[in-house]
């Protein structure tokens, strides 16, 4: 690990001015991703601004029925919070299926939003990676890419976003609040993560000097009947091969509302809007679910190692919808 300067910020204003004045600086939250990347010399900040003392740890009900979550709320705390468990079970489940208990106790909501890919070639300084060194090439495309993306890929990068939490946030249409010396911005989840295109090193729409301060969940009654399903290679402590976050409302045998997002398939948490379009207004049947899944995956591009993900994603979507629909018809 490269030596670095350490600054501890007592409040948001100090934190954002510290980062604004230091070139090549990083905020340190739980450190569960950043410190690993620093150990591997993938991230080499000159300055680390410790934000763990900032008062961004609340989980509060908003007047409109939504919930505001402080950026420094630990993943385990958020997963156990009664508001989240009762109103947004998909988020609680996604958090609990991420990482290990020890990591969840440290990891923050803000840090989880910025979690970087687990591509083996990104982590290896001896390999070519356009994300790590723009323009150096991509060794994953002709190499081990079983865990890689099938949606929204480019010729320069096929990495996935590894977060489970972000899949739930995308499904819920969460809004991320960021702050810098220039002021406060609100970024809808749909715009938060970026597809690789020609610039795979640009992963989010957050600027280097912006601090994530909060995430807001809109009120969403159907989320009370929501679910997160993570498919992985072992029962715990493995990244998703495919994951599905979903909520549906069925009335008189017809799907009246549907929310669906996928993980493990793209550089961003993948909101499955094509599938949602097929679902809404259609009979809540296995055939509809299959059609919806196929519609979403029609644009998928696979490599030899990750071709299985297309079928797996379709089958997992169907399984989750089947289970949610069977939970009860409002009529």
């Amino acid at each position: 690990m490269k030596s670095f300067a350490y600054v501890s910020a007592p409040d948001v204003r100090t934190a954002v001015s510290a980062i604004a004045s230091a070139p090549n600086a990083k905020f340190l939250g739980g450190g569960t991703n950043l410190v690993d990347l620093m150990r591997g010399n993938i991230e080499q900040p000159d300055t680390v601004v410790d934000i763990t003392r900032l008062p961004l740890t609340g989980v509060d009900l908003l007047p409109d029925g939504g919930v505001r979550i402080g950026a420094l709320v630990r993943n385990s705390h958020l997963a156990a919070h009664p508001l989240i468990r009762s109103r947004y079970p998909v988020l609680s489940q996604a958090l609990l299926m991420g990482a290990s208990a020890q990591l969840r106790n440290m990891a923050t909501v803000g840090g989880n939003l910025l979690q970087r890919t687990r591509c083996l070639y990104f982590y290896d300084r001896a390999s070519a990676c356009n994300k790590r060194v723009p323009g150096s090439g991509c060794d994953a495309i002709g190499g081990f890419n079983r865990n890689h993306a099938i949606l929204g890929v480019s010729d320069g990068c096929i990495a996935t976003n590894p977060s489970d939490m972000c899949v739930a946030l995308a499904m819920l249409d969460a809004v991320v609040e960021v702050e810098s010396t220039r002021g406060i911005r609100r970024i809808p989840m749909a715009d938060f993560h970026l597809l690789p295109g020609e610039t795979p090193h640009k992963e989010t729409s957050v600027a280097a000097d912006e601090l994530i301060t909060a995430v807001e969940l809109p009120p969403l009654p159907i989320a009370a009947n929501s679910r997160y399903r993570k498919v992985r290679d072992r029962a715990s402590y493995a990244f998703a091969l495919v994951s599905v976050g979903a909520a549906v409302e069925v009335n008189g045998g017809t799907v009246t509302q549907a929310r669906l997002a996928l993980g493990g398939v793209s550089a961003k948490p993948w909101r499955a809007s094509k599938a949602e379009e097929v679902l809404v207004g259609a009979p809540a049947t296995e055939e509809t679910f299959r059609r919806a899944a196929a519609a979403e995956l029609a644009a998928a591009t696979a490599r030899p190692d990750n071709e299985f993900k297309i079928g797996l994603a379709e089958r997992t979507i169907v399984a989750v919808l089947r289970q949610l629909a069977s939970k009860g018809d409002a009529a």
């Binding site: 690990m1 490269k2 030596s3 010399n41 687990r118 083996l120 070639y121 290896d124 001896a126 390999s127 060794d139 002709g142 190499g143 081990f144 079983r146 498919v231 992985r232 290679d233 072992r234 029962a235 715990s236 402590y237 493995a238 091969l241 495919v242 299985f308 079928g311 797996l312 089958r315 997992t316 169907v318 399984a319």
Partner: protein, 736 residues
């Protein structure tokens, strides 16, 4: 040798491990935890090409990091002698992992080979500087893709310990004529040991005397090897390893880290600690070979085997490696009329492969025991019935008697415990919600040898007993079980026995490998205790002690502070004599086939939508002779099964076939099983002593893992109707 009668109550009792408190309270000092004044820290820089030369190495930036003492490269390293050629005449040579003489050459032989060592006052400074060492290479064409190497792999030459093939009758012709046959190709990926303790060495020179704290499975042979490499007499070198955090074969060879710590200590004139990162372990400690195996079985319509063909291809590094006796179990498990066994290995530009828990049988049994299951399916016969129908009375290949074989009893007991008779044989016939449920069986088999150990014992007037032997303790319970054995042999309580181990200053013991340590040391402990008893008896007679007096009473009565006895000798002559004695024993032991066996029963659940496979129930019954300590033996067997579940379902070292570089060098991406993957494991044993072994015990370190992957694969077939012949059985091989 005959089985010794059980004299006391300690042998067979679930005694708590003697090092348990030290380990659970953190007072046990592992190799990375010894403090020395002026201790410096070393970090390895690894090659990022598989073959070629170092063109230039720039250490200026690294050297400028505050605290850096020296950046050692092939341009400035102190001399080290080349590795000895492996020879059966001098057994210590077999711990040589590779012929590369590290930092003495600019030649690169594998991706990950050490090209520099940074030594600094702190471990952080050494790590920071290591990333700044700038190496440029002249790459040469490398041969690293195993699949590409398979077709041209030559036959493996055998040695005294490892059989390499076998032939009986005309198996190919018998196969062609067989009424029922199965022929299939099975593959297993490379695996890594992943001991919880990364390899670590602390080296301290004092003139030409050297102390090495090293995480090793082979104290005595490591000492000989290190002394040879650094040109000092073995007597000047002390290797200390009282605690080793797991080895599984990975710590049985001298890998670069050990030598480079010693070299670095010499270069900077200070004690040096070199602890490998987890990535460093993957890059410099060889794992298990991948394999491609062909198995063909022919039988009569009634299921009598007429032909058994098992051919394997493994790989080794160009500078060393172990190809594993992959067809080993196929020599002994089934009474096939005709047999043909063949082992091949290809040499590639990769880190030398090494021995990993039950080398050979772990992966060989996957292919054989899967094929037997496939034959049972073809015959419409119960897989246990098929096995029992072909259970041999004598060794099927060479006709030798078995020293001990109770596989029938193991299957009968396992079937009862598991409830096998309730099984519906039809694949895909059992469902539980979205889960497809299946069960499978497979045989475990691991051959056993005895080496020799030097041991001393002292019985003191205060009632204490001290057993001394430089054996290794890697978590198996070595010291605990030898204390139990000595206690009963001397007729004293186990609490009064202390065992000193893990230090080359003690009488020499063989390496802990091949499941041979416990029995080998036990033989000497029994012998030395018998000698001590004889001394005590003559003392009792002289002093007029009452019949039935305890050793303590005899010594008090005689006014003698202690009696001592020794077996074996560490003098030069004594060592030669010991090795000759061992060779004689090995030759004599060839009269019969000696092995631990067992029967695994597995239940799996496969998700119909996603193909996710979880093991939900496990029962194993072993024939491991007499069990000295049910706690420690049970843990070893259970640990083997867990490691086998890992190899079946998740583990795989990813060597990029384009570069030979390991891409998942860490526990985040190399998937060992987590707790949630492992169901309660029901382990038991027959308990009947093996008449050819000391106390009738058979080593338990390795037999547990053998057969496990096949039992899982067979259960997956039963659950889904899909036969997966390529490990690991990941969900992509099961989804439609």
């Amino acid at each position: 040798m005959t089985a010794v009668e059980q004299r006391g109550k300690a042998v067979g009792a679930p005694v708590d491990r003697v090092d348990g408190v030290a380990k659970t309270t953190g007072t046990a000092q592992f190799s990375a935890e010894h403090a020395y004044p002026g201790l410096a820290y070393a970090v390895v820089v690894h090659s990022s090409i598989s073959r070629g030369q170092i063109a230039a190495i720039d250490t200026a930036e690294a050297s400028a990091i505050p605290g850096v003492l020296k950046v050692i490269t092939h341009e400035n390293a102190p001399p080290m002698k080349p590795a000895p050629k492996q020879s059966m005449v001098n057994l210590s040579t077999i711990v040589s992992a590779s012929s590369v003489n590290y930092l003495q050459t600019n030649e690169i032989h594998w991706d990950g080979q050490p090209v520099a060592v940074v030594v600094a006052q702190t471990s952080d400074a050494a790590k920071e500087a290591a990333a700044l060492v700038d190496v440029s290479y002249r790459p040469a064409e490398s041969f690293v893709d195993f699949a590409a190497g398979v077709p041209s792999a030559p036959l493996v030459k055998g040695n005294a310990f490892i059989p390499t093939g076998g032939k009986k009758g005309d198996a190919e012709a018998a196969l062609a004529a067989a009424a029922v046959k199965v022929e299939a190709r099975y593959t297993t990926p490379p695996y890594n040991h992943n001991a919880i303790e990364p390899h670590s060495t602390t080296a301290v020179w004092d003139g030409d005397r050297l102390t090495v704290h090293d995480a090793t499975q082979g104290i005595d042979w490591f000492r000989t090897h290190i002394a040879m490499r650094f040109g000092v007499p073995a007597a000047n070198v002390r290797v200390i390893a009282p605690y080793v955090g797991g080895g599984f074969g990975g710590k049985g060879f001298v890998w670069p880290g050990t030598l480079l710590a010693v070299l670095a200590a010499r270069a900077v004139g200070r004690p040096v600690r070199l602890t490998l990162t987890r990535e460093g372990v993957y890059r410099t400690v060889g794992g298990r070979t991948p394999s491609v195996q062909q198995v063909a079985l022919g039988s009569t319509v009634d299921g009598k085997l007429t032909a058994l063909v098992h051919k394997s291809v493994a790989r080794v590094g160009r500078t060393g490696g172990q190809s594993e006796p992959i067809t080993s179990q196929s020599r002994h498990l089934y009474a096939a009329e005709n047999m043909l066994l063949e082992q091949r290995a290809v040499e590639q530009d990769i880190l030398p492969t090494s021995s990993m828990r039950a080398p050979g049988e772990s992966i060989g049994s996957f292919a054989l025991e899967s094929a037997v299951d496939e034959l049972a399916v073809s015959l419409g016969m119960d897989p246990i019935e098929l096995r029992m129908l072909n259970e041999p009375e004598r060794d099927p290949l060479e006709g030798k008697p078995f020293a001990h074989r109770m596989l029938r009893e193991a299957y009968a007991e396992g079937a009862r415990r598991f409830g096998w008779s309730a099984r519906s044989p039809e694949p895909r016939s059992t469902k539980d919600g979205r889960w497809l449920v299946g069960t499978g069986v497979a045989s475990a088999f691991h051959p056993l040898m005895l080496f020799s150990a030097n041991v001393t014992v002292r019985v003191s007037a205060d009632g204490s007993v001290l057993v001394r032997c430089a054996m290794q303790e890697m978590g198996m319970g070595s010291a605990t079980v030898q204390a139990q054995i000595a206690a009963d042999a001397l007729g004293v309580p186990v609490e009064s026995v202390r065992v000193e181990y893990g230090d080359s200053a003690l009488p020499a013991a063989p390496l802990a490998g091949g499941s041979l340590q416990t029995a080998s040391v036990a033989a000497s402990v029994l012998e030395v205790c018998a000698k001590a008893r004889a001394s005590l008896e003559s003392l009792a007679k002289k002093a007029g002690a009452a019949t039935g007096s305890s050793p303590q009473e005899v010594l008090a009565k005689a006014g003698v502070p202690f009696v001592e006895a020794a077996v074996g000798s560490d003098t030069r002559f004594g060592k030669v004599a010991g090795q000759l004695k061992m060779m004689r024993r090995l030759l004599r032991d060839r009269r019969y086939v000696r092995a631990a066996t067992g029967a695994h029963f597995c239940e799996v659940r496969v998700d119909q939508d996603t193909g996710e496979t979880r093991v939900s129930r496990w029962t194993s019954v072993f024939d491991v002779g007499r069990v000295i300590n049910p706690k420690t033996a049970g843990s070893q067997l259970r640990g083997g099964i867990i490691m086998g579940i890992g190899m079946a379902l998740a583990e795989e070292t990813l060597f990029d076939p384009r570069t030979g570089r390991i891409m998942n060098a860490g526990l985040g991406e190399y998937h060992v099983p987590v707790h949630a993957d492992i169901p309660p494991i029901d382990v038991s044993w027959i308990g009947d002593p093996d008449p050819t072994m000391p106390l009738g015990l058979l080593g338990v370190g390795e037999v547990g893992i053998t057969g496990v992957a096949a039992a899982v694969a067979n259960a997956v077939f039963h659950a889904t109707g899909k036969r997966v012949r390529d490990l690991p059985i990941t969900l992509d091989k099961l989804v439609p």
